[in-house]
């Protein structure tokens, strides 16, 4: 199982713990975590070694959407950004996905099942982040199986 470096961004220490505990329960990968308490802190801790990010929306100093946009603007277009937030209105979901460039949107409170449904597609069977090549390969094999 590969080692996956996950940046967990939330101004609540309790919620960062809840996200990490849930990810550990899922056993999708061997996670190593980096904590950040808001978008600014996360930008300081972000580097090329980060494989996936779990981002709260409503935080002081820099919101999750502003952080996600900043990461995309730096040219990191493929790293999965998962918004984990209490914001539930459809307008907010659209904003996170389009303006912020997030890949997925999970609303709090979340269960392990809900988290699994949202993020399992980003991991391959060896516990690595699935690359776009892997996805293309899977689609190819699926199309053969379905034909």
């Amino acid at each position: 199982m590969g080692k996956i470096k996950a940046l967990v961004i939330d101004d609540s220490k309790i919620m960062r713990s809840a996200v990490k505990r849930t990810l550990n329960q899922l056993m999708l990968a061997d996670f190593e975590y980096v904590d950040a308490k808001d978008g600014e802190d996360a930008l300081n801790k972000f580097n090329d070694e980060i494989d996936i990010m779990f981002v709260d929306w409503n935080m002081p100093n820099m919101t999750g959407v502003e952080f996600a946009k900043a990461v995309r603007d730096k040219g990191y277009e493929k790293i999965p950004i998962i918004m984990v937030t209490a914001e539930k209105s459809m307008g907010k979901v659209d904003k996170a996905l389009t303006e912020g460039g997030a890949n997925e949107y999970i609303t709090k409170p979340f269960t392990a099942d809900k988290m699994h449904k949202a993020i399992s597609e980003y991991f391959d069977e060896e516990g690595n982040i699935a690359s776009e090549d892997d996805e293309e390969e899977k689609s190819f094999f699926k199309s053969i199986l379905n034909s």
Partner: protein
Amino acid sequence: MTFDNLIELDRIPVEIVSKVKESVINTIGSMIGAEVEYVDETNGDGPLNGIIGNITVFNSEHTLSLMLAIPKEAAIHFSKVFIGMELPFESDDMGDLIGEISNILAGDVAANVEKVGFRGQSSLPTATRGSDLTLFMPNKPPTEKMKFTSDNIEFWLTMVLSESK
């Protein structure tokens, strides 16, 4: 529904009260994994020994303040079911937990009251811990207090509608 003359009202519109009540039942119930029931009872509660989670859903004209009053025993119960361990009541983590519960509730309330025409965003939460806590509403704005029970615990939500300043 129009909210043009909202501040002239002496009560919070029933549509908003109903949506907030629905959010409390669904959100807290989902968080603690148990059924939450509204109790139609306005008397009988005294000063609080516990934590109050404060948060608002606001727009440029109106502010809907939500104050979640959680007795000490209920707060400890919430920590057990929400994060899987009993947090010390006096710890910073307990304040963090109640703030987060308020934040999650406000997110649901914002989405729910939007359905009846109140579009707003939620503020950052705060939490106040203490004994003999009593909520006072200066200038007597439209206020609604609701009691809820679940799993032998009880808690209250007070909501206040005021003008954004």
